[in-house]
Structures are given as C-alpha cells and as structure tokens.
Amino acid sequence: MSSIVLVLIAIGVLAAGGIPACLQSSRSSAGQKISTALTIIGGGTGLYALVLSFGESTHATISEPWFLPFGRFAVAIDPLSVVFLALVFVVPVLGSIYGLGYWKQAEHPKNGQKLGFFYGLLAGSMGLVSIARDGVLFLIAWEIMALAAFFAATVEEENPEVRYAGWVYLIATHIGTLCLFAMFALWERGTGSFALEAAVSGTVPAAGAIFVLAVIGFGFKAGLMPLHVWLPGAHANAPSHVSAVMSGVMLKMGIYGILRMTSLLPVTAPWWGGTLLAVGAITGLAGIAFAIGQTDLKRLLAYSSIENIGVITMGIGLALLGRGAGRWEWILLGLGGALFHVWNHGLFKSLLFLNSGSIIHAVGTRNIEELGGLSKKLPTTAALFLIGAVAISALPPLNGFASEWLLYLGLFDTLGLDGKTALGGAAIAVPALAMIGALAVACFVKLFATVFLGASRSERIEHAHESGPAMLFPMIFLAGVCATIGFFPSLVLLPIENAVRVWAAPLSQQTTLGSLVSFNWVSTLGIVLVIMLGLIFTLLRFLAATRSNRAHGTWDCGYARPTNRMQYTGTSFVQSIVDLFFFILWPKRGKDTVRGVFPERAEFKTSVPDAVLDRLALPVFKLAERYAPNIRFFQQGQTHFYILYVFIITIVLLGIGAMGVNP
C-alpha cells in the first residue's frame, strides 16, 4: 500500500478518534480509553507511512475529480509535508494519552466527550491540511481545523473568561480565513486552477499580493505580531493537552501554509525575505518580552510560542533572501534552521504545556505568584520542566540550541564571508536573536524558579501531588526526545534537508547541512559537558561525605522575621527587564502609595496586558460597537419613512442608471 493511502487512513483514524467515547455513557472511561487507543493506532500508522515515504522515489500523490464544482481531491506527501506530518502524528497522540489522566471522562461528564470528539477532529484536520494539494480542499481542511480548535479550546464555556478567549480566537481565525479566500482566489486567477502545484508558466500575476495575503492569513494562525491577539487567551484557557497541540502543532500549520505558498510562487521579489526577516525578529523580541511580563503560567508559555514562531519566521525570511540572491547556503541554513526549530518547538513546547497541566492539576491555579517550592512535591515534573525550560531557552546541549545554531550560521553567512556576495542588513538579525536568547533565559528562569524553587507563596501547594503515570509518560517521552535530538542533532538532518530541497527545488545544490555545520562537535562537547558535570558532582558528593554538614534556614541578612511572602516574586525578578522594554510592553503600573514615616497599609499593582489586543483592537471594537447602532435610526418603525426609502432608492437608481447611458 502506498504511503499516501496509509497517511489518509491514519488521518481518518485520528479524526474519528473521539467518536467511540461519544457513543459510551458520559461517565464511562472505557470510551476514552478506546479513543486513545485509536489515536495511538492512527499516529503509529502515520509514522510508519512517513518512514515508508522515504523509500518511495516519487512523491506519493492522489488527485481525483470530486463532487464539488471547484477544485479536486488532490493530496500528496513530499518531504515538506513529512516534516509537519511528523508533528501531527506524535504530539496529539501523546496529548491523548496525557488526557487519560488529566481530563478523566468520569470527572468531566459534561464536556469530556465533546472535547474528545473535537480533539480528534483537530488532529485529523491538521494532517489533511499538511497533505492537501488543492486550494479548496486546503481551505476546507483549514477551516475544520480552526473550528475544531475553537470547540476543543472552549469546552469549559460556562466560564466567561473562556468564552471571551474563544470569541477573540474565532474573530482572528475568521479574518485569517477570509484573507486565505482572497489569496486562493488570486492564485486561481493567476494559475488557472486551484491546484497547489508550482506555476507552470514561470510567473504568477499579482504574486506579491498573494504573498502578502498568505503572510497575513497564515500569520493569524501562526501568531505573527501583531496578529497574535487570539493566541495567549486561547492557549491559557484551553485544557492543557489541547494547548499543547495548538501551540505545538496548529501554529506550525500557519508556518506550513507560508512555506507551501512561497515554495509554489515562482520568482520571489527581494523584499519578501526582508519583510519576513524583520517581522520574525519583531515577533520574536516582542513575543518573549511580553512572555517575561506574564504571571499566568500558560499565558507566558503562549507568548513564548509567539517568540519561537518569530525565530522560525526569521529562518524563512533568510531562506527567501537566499532564493532571491540564489544563495543555497542561506536557504539551507535558514530554512533548515526554521524547520528544525518547528520540530524542536513542537517538542519542548508540548512538554511545557503538558507540564503546566500537571502543575494546574496539582495546585488548581495558573497564577505563578501563588506558587513556589513545588519541586519538593513534584520532583519528576520539576526535573522534566527544567529540561523543557533549558531546551526552549536554546541552551546547549539540548535541541533548542541546535536549531538556533543553524539560523545563526545562516545569518552570519549573509556577511558574505570568504568573498561571497554580502547582504549587510540581514546580519542585524544576529544581535536581535542574541537578545531574544538572553530574554528567553531570563523568562524561563523566572518561570521555573517561581513555580518550583524557593518556598511556597500560598498554602495551595500543601496538598499538591505528583501526577500519575498516564500524565508522566508523555512528558518523559518528550523530554527524552528533546535530549536525544539535542545531543545528536545529526540524526534528524536528513528529512529536514529533503524538505529544504523540495522547497527551493530549482536552486538545490550538492552542499548538505552536514557539510556546512559540524554537529559532531556539538554532540561531543555536549557529552563532555555532561561528563564534567558528573565529575564535579562526584567531587561534591565526596566532599559532602567527608565533611560535617549542617542544614539551616536561608540566611535572612539579620532581618528578624522573614516570611515566604517576602521572597522575590516572579514579577519583581523581571521588573527591571520590563522597565527596559516599556516602549513595547506599556506595562500597567499602580501608584505605590507608601507615604510618610509610618506609612499606612499600602498596595502596588503592576501587570503587562497585551498591547495589541487590550490597547488597540479592543478600543476600536468598542468604538464600532458604540457608534454602529446609530444607523438604527433608519429602522425607526414609521411605515411612512419605509415607503419613502423605496421612493428615494428608485430615484437614486434612476440617477445611477442615467450616469451610464449617453442620451
């Protein structure tokens, strides 16, 4: 059986995954188990099919006329799809397993089945998106994905906050979809069909417009600034394994869309790449800056997703520049880095979201300022979270570093080293990336330390408990993969490189990623680092064993009665950084009301709302809502006026008509 058929089967199984649970009683956990089993089967089949597709010389394709007036049923797997399908077949499966412990059907009789159904639909539709080769089919799959995500994320719609988040998401995704309508319409106009195949004639009319519409339309889903407005709320309010899938995979569908369209559009104007590079850098910086300001565990993670999308977009921008300038290295390093980061982010961000699920499950709040010292209660979760945090901060020796490293090399290469043509401006992205890196470190130190380290800031964590195996296994798995890829990046280079070659088909050259970057050194040094750590730790252990040791309270610098509440909070930890970036963040600050020698009880509030949503979009909507109803005056209930309208419009139309005719 050819890989494409298998993939279709796998997608079908994933999509139908939730149905068995719906047929069971609303409290039976059996249905949920069956659904998970189905999901596992689907994922397994899919992965097997992907492996199969490597063997196939030509890209497996199905293209049949179907029962709709437009388009065809055209699907195909090429290496580019494979990269994204891999995520689709892994993350949702793990999430579903996680759900067994996190969202027990028995505990959620009201919405468990609904969640299961739309979760499966979401997974399946994402699979279809990444193999669709026809505009109409793509749109259908795309919108099913968007709506399934909406319903899966708003299962707890009895909560107004969730409803609001869902509403914002719905508007955002709809704007995106409308842009895609326009884009595919233009594409059809330019190429004469909806088929997503490279334009036969060398040029596509209005390619620029198509590109812009694609960036906006897909950007809404991917979460490019300032189109990210829906992202934090939706991710924060969705069940955590849904957040994991949305952030880990669904955002990447936006990236996929941009890549697919750019690969199809023949000639790329030089400004395309520049735009994406700039947008990516801005998205990355702003995203991580906003993340630092958050106190809501999942909102923070959501913003950091925006940052990573920014990094990925920078890679795409570099690759486009490479296509413009005909520089294979830039394409290879830029897009290679981007795709590699797509995978890595999919892995460690899912890990972190699942992790946050365990935390919420244990303490029942998303507000990190109420937490602290959790690692004593949840040691395993803490260790896994640490791995995720180090990985997402792009620190060696984990996978985040490997992908950003490629991107760095590509950007450095735009300097025009050893005599090749240079592209000075692009290199400015390097320090930007460095700053993103430093901010990420600060951000995740804040998160990790505030949640897991120090002493508890509220009694919430008294009854906190470690998660069960169903929830731990997926996290351990993800952490393991992160580490493996981090230490041995060369393992995964091949599929990525194939994808790059497909994307930039005409420019593809012999040079391979392996020849451009020496990942062996990274592996070696990573191992050396671990060994050194081992040595130092054994040394410490030896010292500890041979000395007389004492335990003691944290030194209070002589202050008599320190309390846990006196710890440095996450907010105060990042206050100086937030002040540094006030021009992007516009933080809300209350006045500090400490007055006089013996001050009264004083309080001070500060928070970082979303600049675009809360300070730009919302006011605009408010205005529209206030002034749009004024038009209602015309529907004032007097029949006389209604008849007058009929009369007037007749006259007006006669006028318009007369304009056309020449007597």
């Binding site: 620190l395 490293w405 450095f412 460095a434 030194w555």
Partner: protein
C-alpha cells in the same frame, strides 16, 4: 599537542592569580600592603576544606548551579585561543556555542540564587539576567565585526586575524568593539564600575549577592569558576588587540601570560580610580557598550 596541554594548564591554574594581582594592585593603590598575589588559591583551598551549610529551602538546583558554572566556563575556555596559539577546540560556529555556554551558566546560577527563596539573592539574579539582555547583543555585534574582518566563523581565526586585517579603515571599528568588549568583560565578571566584589551585603550587588547563601566548597567552586570566566573573557579582549607573533613558542606563551597579568593590573587600576555606578546607571553603561559594538559593526559593513 604540547600547546594544548599548556592551554589547559593555564586555563585551569592561572585564573585565581589574576584575582590576586587585581587585589594587589588595588591595595598598592590604596597605599596598603594587602594580601599576597597567591591569596585566592589559599582561599579556594580553605573553602574546599570546609563543610557544607545548606539552607533547608534549597533543592539540588542550589548545588547544581556552581557545578554547571564551573563546567561551562572550563568548556568555554577550550574554545578560546590563547595568544597566537589556536584553541584546542575550533570549528565553524563555535563562537555561538561559546556565548550560549555562558547563557547556560547564567541560567543555573540565577536559578540557584532564586532557590534559596531569599529576596536579596533574587535581586542579584534579576540584575544578572537583566544586564545579560544588553551584554549579549553587544558581544554578538563584536563577533559580527570580527567575523566580517576575518571572513571566518571560528573563534580562533576571528580573534587572530583581527590584527592581520588591521588597516586604516578597520582601525575605528576595532577600537570601538574593543572598548565594548572591555565593558562586557567588566559586567560579566562583576567588576567596578558595574559591581563591587569586595562587599557582600551591599544590596546593590549583582554576582556577590547571588552567592550569598553558598558556602564552603560551593563558594570555593564559584570563586574558582568566576576567576576562570574572567580569564577567558580577558583572553578574548587580549587576542583582539594583541599583534604579537614572534614565532618562538616559549616567548609567545610568556607574552600571553604577561598580557593577561597586565590586563589584571589595568582592571585593578580602574577599580582603584573609579567608583561603582549607581545600579540604575549600569544599564546605560551596557547600552553604550552595545552601541559601541553596534556602531563598530556598522562602520565596517557600511
């Protein structure tokens, strides 16, 4: 091979001496006799002989921090060429690894500091994290400039060829990034005017306040690690400006060591004649370092 061994030996054993030299210089400036130059070695040895005193708030992260710091700085040390001699480990893109190793160290030192749950250590960690946000880009601007000059992406080549590529039009960029790098060095190693290593309870400290709760062997490791860090970053600065290449191995090593000591003296002098900046001002200093490196780069590629 032999050079690599010397490299390792210097990396592992020389750094504390720099601290000693700095202190010696400062006390000499202060008209005091001061501790002997080898004092830091004794301090570290003494600390390693003590027992552990651990806060019961802390977890394994608290002990992990110093270990990671030490491991990373040593690893970083092997990526940097000393004098005209190539680094033991050199490969395309090692500069990024070099920078990110320090990032890794920062991650765990700050985490360890926050692990104590003490407000003071929190402050220190916060400042460390904040200043890095400015010093990292500065460092990368410098790297960009050097890469452009040398046309290579390995630290060894980049740092060596800076002088070979010296010419009237590269002079200005070089001067700018050297200044920038020097500020970064001071900030990263917590010297005046950014930080004052002598005091421990001043709430305006960065590094020293982060390690407030580390004692005994852990403190020893931290002391050792930070001296190595200074040595490594110092080596970077020295390499950028050092034109010497006599050809004879022995002389060149001697030259390198003397240059490092000279750098220590310079730092000592600076610390004696300058006052520490107000904490609010430090960002300005770092921003200016960023601008120095940035403009250096722009001058070059314009």
């Amino acid at each position: 091979m032999i050079d690599n061994l010397i490299h390792a030996a210097l990396l592992l054993f020389l750094p504390p001496l720099l601290l000693g030299v700095i202190n010696k210089t400062k006390s000499w400036f202060g008209g005091r006799n001061g501790p002997r130059a080898l004092q830091p070695y004794y301090d570290i040895a003494k600390l390693l002989r003590k027992g552990f005193v651990l806060s019961d708030t802390t977890t394994w992260i608290f002990r992990f921090g110093p270990a990671v710091t030490l491991a990373t700085v040593i690893l970083a040390g092997f990526l940097i060429p000393f004098g005209r001699f190539d680094a033991p480990v050199a490969f395309t893109g090692d500069l990024i690894l070099f920078a990110y190793l320090f990032g890794l160290a920062r991650f765990f030192t700050t985490a360890a500091a926050l692990d104590t749950g003490s407000a003071f250590e929190g402050m220190g960690a916060a400042r460390e994290a904040t200043f890095a946000v400015l010093s990292e880009p500065a460092l990368f601007f410098a790297f960009l400039t050097l890469a452009k000059l040398s046309g290579s992406l390995t630290l060894t080549k980049m740092l060596h060829s800076s002088m070979e590529a010296f010419s009237p039009e590269t002079a200005a960029p070089l001067v700018l990034i050297v200044l920038g790098l020097f500020v970064v060095l001071l900030a990263e190693t917590c010297r005046i005017p950014v930080d004052d290593p002598n005091t421990h309870l001043e709430l305006t400290m960065i590094h020293e306040v982060m390690v407030l709760d580390h004692g005994g062997p852990l403190l020893g490791i931290i002391l050792y690690a930070s001296s190595i860090k200074m040595f490594v970053l110092g080596a970077v600065v020295i390499n950028v400006i050092s034109p010497f290449n006599t050809g004879s191995t022995a002389i060149d090593w001697a030259v390198f060591v003397s240059q490092m000591l000279a750098l220590a003296v310079v730092i000592g002098v600076l610390e004696s004649i300058m006052a520490r900046l107000r904490m609010r001002r430090v960002p300005y200093l770092l921003v200016s370092a960023l601008l120095l490196c940035g403009s250096g780069f722009l001058l070059l590629v314009r």
